[in-house]
Symmetry: C2
Subunit: 205 residues, 2 copies
């Protein structure tokens, strides 16, 4: 019973991703999502208080996945510069997400401008990522693998770079191999931020 309910929830989310990315969030109604996912309205509202709540759940699910990917990449790296390059390497899974979730980006942005509830949920992880990357940079400076940098500016740089690449990937998917471009760009920026001491590997963990 519990398993079936979770199965229904997933089916609703899958339909919503597809419909939002194809037609837009505003143009998609709860009734349509229910029809497409073969769920009753009762089942829908059992899982999601509103269309907005479902939308925010999609954003949170997506971010949870990204957080896990980034964390794994950093953990398995010997130094901060290596870790940042490894993180950029994980962008492949973001760009190649065939389930349409990358198309949802612009929907999130669009909606964030119009809907305060969505905006708050959207801007919070943005700011969180800036702090997250600032913390990583600070660690790199402390461990001596990065030259002295303003961690805040560097954090904002990485977030802007990632966002810019994602926007280009969404809008012009055939314009470049965006996952590779992102990796190359991050590697180029990191090389410039490195102290040079990690160009050969760090001697100690």
């Amino acid at each position: 019973m519990q398993a079936r309910s979770q199965e229904t929830r997933k089916r609703i989310l899958r339909s919503a991703v597809r419909l939002f990315s194809e037609r837009g969030y505003e143009a998609t109604g709860v009734a349509q999502i229910c029809r497409d996912s073969e769920a009753s309205k009762g089942a829908f509202y059992h899982h999601f208080p509103s269309k907005q709540a479902l939308f925010i759940d999609l954003l949170k699910d997506w971010l949870r996945g990204l957080d896990a990917e980034l964390g794994r990449a950093l953990k398995s790296s010997a130094s901060v510069p290596d870790g940042l390059v490894a993180m950029a390497g994980r962008m492949k899974s973001v760009f190649s997400a065939a389930d349409g979730s990358i198309q949802l980006f612009l929907e999130f942005w669009q909606q964030a401008r119009r809907d305060t509830g969505v905006w708050k949920e959207f801007i919070a992880p943005y700011r969180r990522y800036q702090e997250y990357f600032a913390g990583i940079i600070k660690r790199g400076v402390d461990e001596g693998s990065l030259r002295p940098l303003d961690p805040r500016v560097a954090g904002q740089t990485f977030v802007a770079l990632a966002v810019g690449m994602l926007v280009q990937g969404v809008l012009d998917p055939d314009g470049a191999a965006w996952d590779k471009v992102t990796r190359d760009a991050v590697r180029m920026v990191i090389t410039g931020m490195s102290s040079g001491r990690e160009a050969t590997r760090p001697r100690r963990r």
Copy 2:
């Protein structure tokens, strides 16, 4: 008569910027733009074959202004690294555009996904800017002020950085002084790309 016609055209464009950025492109009709700008439909269609044509004109006007700003910044600089930092300094005028044109960004992006005509006009300058910056980087490598870099990757890096900063500026205007952050970020990236020879100023023009 000619002057009055141009005045009408400008008034229509101003109304369109305001309405598109407040309500969105899709939700704004030609009739509304005419009412707001006190122009007749005849006058509207004299200047613009369609709402889409007007929208594309707005994009082109905006880009023309940006091109001119960037060109001036580069021309008045002694070296490529200096020029790129000066270009980033001009972002202030982009971020502080009080006429709502920065809000139009997401409208352009949104529309580009839905409308092939808009998409083509939108993606062309994107690709053009990548090549433009790649050309500048190549010149910097040739003049010896930049270390050997892949100009294509560096060009894409700068475009992504600018786009990412603009997106953050649109969505979270109070989250940071985005013009300053952009300048600091570009300076940080450029410093990392420099050969070191221009850290002290280039000896000759």
